[in-house]
């Protein structure tokens, strides 16, 4: 009797849950025509209901009469392994480090790197030159640094060296570079600024000012929003979320200028310009794609004014197309874009970082920070 009750219970939940399964991406061929099916593998925040993925897919299905299958993957390692299992026509959400893996790491079962299709120039031309690449299409970006609430830190840091000040004792929320992309960007930022030896010395000296090193950005940001510590490593676009969604204008991004370097005895190696790491997110088409042209059309949508606006407002990142950020009604983004644009000169510096990742992470672990 008990088992029967359990089975009935299970069947009821199944029927109810099946009924509520979201319909986007599941449209039948009959409903939308018999066009080719586009298989997209994307990171979870893109696919989630709060991300831009579902709306972009809906738009695309309606316009192109193409069925889209949107599959979520975790970060780059898992995404590329999943690509092995679920061949896709488009991969969305590789950052610079993920892109490096995608370009150079051997496929799990083959021993040679993944192949990526060269994308039609009509698509890549939509991307500004500094982000342009024939195979990896940048679709959003944001500088990384420290976010604070007005009035909470004792002073505003203006350089990495400033962070060592006693004003920031137990004030910093960082992320572990082994498990978090912003955390990794911070490690490289420090190394690029002070050199490897100086960088690890800097991190050791910084220890007293670190409130916590969390495993993910969301954990650190959660501690920050609860007021546990006044400074968190995050994106320059984070304050825009609070301003637009929560109508809270207290959140600020601390723009650094290494020229104004503070009290530390360490001399910044690359201090001639204002310098922040920049997170860039890419999409790419695998060489063994089936619906390759359809994938390119989806990329076109992502880079269109409409697509870039959706990405900007749902991913809370900057669009790659300037005019999208400066469109009427997007003033908050325009302000950040204008400031961030000056950092594009540092993009060249960032190019060599991904190749050094494994080496630096081993050293990070050995340094017991």
């Amino acid at each position: 009797m008990a088992i029967l009750a359990l089975v009935v219970f299970g069947v009821l939940i199944f029927v109810a849950a099946r009924d509520r399964w979201p319909k986007w991406g599941d449209s039948s061929d009959e409903a939308i025509g018999l066009g080719p099916r586009l298989r997209i593998l994307a990171y979870s925040s893109f696919v989630s209901s709060w991300g831009p993925g579902p709306q972009l897919v809906e738009l695309f299905e309606a316009r192109e009469k193409v069925r889209v299958e949107l599959i979520q993957a975790d970060d780059a390692g898992v995404m590329l392994a999943k690509l092995e299992h679920f061949p896709s026509d488009l991969v969305i959400g590789l950052d610079q480090f993920g892109r490096h893996m995608a370009e150079f790491k051997p496929r799990p079962s083959q021993g040679q790197a993944f192949g990526w299709r060269e994308i039609a120039s009509g698509v890549t031309e939509r991307v500004p030159e500094e982000f342009r690449d024939p195979r990896f299409v940048a679709f959003d970006w944001a500088p990384i640094g420290f976010v604070y609430r007005e009035g909470e830190p004792k002073s505003i840091p203006r350089s990495l060296s400033d962070l060592q000040s006693k004003h920031f004792e137990r004030a910093l929320l960082l992320q572990d570079p082994r498990s978090s992309s912003p955390g990794l960007q911070f490690l490289f930022w420090v190394m690029a600024t002070f050199g490897e030896r100086g960088g690890f010395q800097y991190l050791r000296d910084l220890k007293a000012n670190v409130f916590s090193v969390t495993s993910s950005w969301s954990q650190a940001y959660g501690l920050f929003t609860r007021g546990e510590a006044p400074l968190v490593l995050s994106y320059a676009t984070s304050p825009i979320y609070h301003a637009l969604e929560e109508k809270d204008d207290r959140y600020r991004f601390a723009w650094f200028d290494e020229q104004a370097a503070g009290s530390s005895g360490l001399v910044p190696e690359w201090g001639e310009n204002s310098f922040h790491p920049i997170q860039i997110e890419y999409a790419a088409i695998p060489a063994d794609c089936r619906a390759c042209e359809v994938a390119e059309r989806f990329l076109m949508l992502m880079l269109s004014h409409e697509g870039q606006t959706l990405i900007m407002r749902h991913n809370w990142m900057l669009p790659v197309r300037r005019e999208v950020a400066f469109a009427p009604g997007q003033e908050a983004f325009a302000k950040t874009f204008e400031r961030a644009e000056r950092l594009k000169t540092s993009l060249k510096r960032l190019e060599s970082w991904p190749a050094q990742r494994e080496n630096l992470l081993k050293k990070w672990q050995e340094a017991e920070l």
Binding site: A2, I3, L6, F9, G10, I13, A17, R18, R20, P22, S44, S45, V47, S48, S49, W50, E69, L70, I71, Q72, D74, D75, G77, V78, A81, K82, H85, F86, M101, P108, S109, Q110, G111, R170, D176, R178, S179, S212, V213, T214, S215, S216, S218, Q219, Y221, G222, L223, T225, E228, S238, Y241, H242, H314, W316, E358, L361, Q365, E366, A367, E368
Partner: protein, 484 residues
């Protein structure tokens, strides 16, 4: 499993191969599937020796401290009834994120090996205490009552009799926590640093940083072999099973110890509720739309997992595994969540609703069943050894013994493990996020919210996960348990 090793009642045991062969297949399948990704290459990865030492140090320290704390909490566990028993077990059952956040709230600066050992030990101490209390009640209650009737003080009883009498349960508790600590991931990652690394972290790094599946599988197998070795080393010796049942609550129970044992659960709930307080303000129409679907999908995953786990363990118990077979099974552990997730992708193509849920259910069942076996079913079967032996001597067939002796005796334990499996399944997102094509479950929705800055709403979803998990666990347990 390993039925060929057993020569007692061989003809009957051969008949049980239809049970053991699928089980063997199920247990080895995750490794075999990962083997494909690894290109069939195994080796001793660089740094594995260091991982071995550090894993042992961390897991050994955690297990020793958990057993020590568990002993202190036994009087409290004897006192506890109903919901209080659940509250003692709760810290061991909640997703790792909850104790981590609580620890960061209480001791933000305390990290490293000692922090990892303390957190993991505190999480598991209540569970160890409940197991010890159960052992006491089922084996020593009669003797204790007699001793008290003859004037012995509770302290004397503890000192002179129970500590030595509980050596089997202590060993079992130590082994259980050791296995948990060896395979833990989030806690050492967040609180550890270099001193507190283990195989799971090595596997994670091999996959995330190097995309090296061979190294990940090799480390996974080394971890499995290490567990086999440790469980063999720590196996319980033959002990007298005094099957008595009585309540020791009045004689040896302690309210103080119970209050101490409830502290971790209270601290965790406090942390969660404080975070969830303003979460409702972040509920937007999207979340209201997502919530019913996610709750139903999580309920389904939890239901499926509890059924699979209970059915699997019931089948194993029906096979009447002897001591050596139980020991082998106790040493088994599934590969880490990522590896297991990829193994379940082989169940079929596509990412439809049914296929995704099936993968999550199978993955969660494989992930939870070994721990639940070690915790509840293996010790219960050990208690029944003498009865099974007597029945065999009297000429009973194994199938009859299984149906009349073993299954009725473990029915309530199966209800417990089914309930706990349901509870754990509500909170899983490590495996689900690898497996699922979309965020179906509530835990995955919580993750999505975190990534979309809606952290307080995410905290509320986690609280909801815990509450719904507790409700479903209680329903499952009540439906399956044997009415006395």
């Amino acid at each position: 499993m390993f039925a060929g090793l057993n020569f007692r009642g061989t003809s009957v045991r051969w008949a049980l191969w239809p049970i053991f062969l699928p089980l063997l297949f199920v247990l080895l399948a995750p490794y075999a599937m990962t083997w494909r990704f690894a290109g069939g290459r195994l080796y001793w990865p660089e740094g594995a020796t260091e991982l071995l030492g550090r894993s042992l140090l961390m897991a050994g320290g955690t297990a020793a401290l958990a057993v020590l704390l568990g002993l202190i909490l036994v009087p409290g566990a004897l006192r506890a009834q109903g919901v209080f028993t659940w509250a003692l077990i709760l810290p061991a059952a909640v997703p790792a994120l909850v104790p981590i956040l609580t620890w960061l709230d209480l001791f933000p600066g305390w990290r490293g090996l000692t922090a990892v050992i303390f957190v993991q030990a505190i999480m598991n101490a209540g569970l160890v205490a409940v197991s010890l209390a159960r052992g006491l009640e089922s084996r020593w209650a009669g003797a204790v009552e007699l001793a008290i009737a003859e004037g012995a003080s509770p302290r004397m009883i503890w000192r002179r009799a129970l500590l030595s009498g509980l050596s089997g349960e202590l060993r079992q508790g130590f082994t259980f926590v050791l296995a948990v600590a060896l395979t833990s991931f989030s806690i050492p990652l967040v609180l550890g640093g270099r001193q507190a690394i283990n195989f799971e972290m090595g596997i994670y790094q091999a996959l995330q940083l190097e995309m090296n599946w061979s190294a990940a599988l090799s480390l996974s197998l080394i971890q499995l072999l290490l567990l086999v070795f440790l469980v063999t080393l720590l196996r319980p010796r033959g002990e007298d099973q005094m099957a008595t049942r009585a309540r020791l609550r009045e004689h040896l129970g302690s309210r103080w110890s119970l209050a101490l044992g409830l502290l971790p659960a209270a601290a965790m709930l406090g942390t969660l509720l404080a975070r969830a307080g303003i979460g409702v303000a972040q509920f937007d129409p999207t979340l209201w739309r997502e919530l019913p679907r996610a709750i139903l999908a999580s309920g389904l995953v939890a239901f499926g997992t509890s059924v699979f786990v209970a059915l699997g363990l019931w089948l194993v118990a029906r096979g009447l595994p002897d001591q050596r077979e139980r020991q082998w099974l106790s040493a088994y552990t599934t590969p880490s969540a990522v590896l297991l997730g990829f193994a379940t992708l082989a169940l079929g193509e596509g990412h439809g609703f049914e296929m995704d849920l099936l993968r999550i259910i199978v993955g969660c069942s494989l992930m939870f069943a070994p721990a639940l076996w070690r915790w509840r079913i293996a010790p219960r079967l050990a208690e029944l050894d003498r009865q099974v032996e007597v029945a065999r001597c009297l000429g009973a067939r194994d199938s009859l013994i299984a149906a009349r002796v073993v299954v009725p005796a473990i029915r309530n334990d199966l209800a417990w493990v089914a309930g706990l499996a349901a509870f754990w399944a509500w909170g899983d997102f490590a495996l689900s996020s690898v497996v699922a094509g979309r965020s179906q479950s509530l835990a995955l929705v919580a993750r999505d919210l975190m990534q979309a800055y809606r952290l307080e709403a995410a905290a509320l979803c986690i609280v909801l996960c815990l509450l719904m998990g507790i409700v479903q666990a209680a329903i499952t347990q009540n439906l399956l348990r044997r009415r006395e």
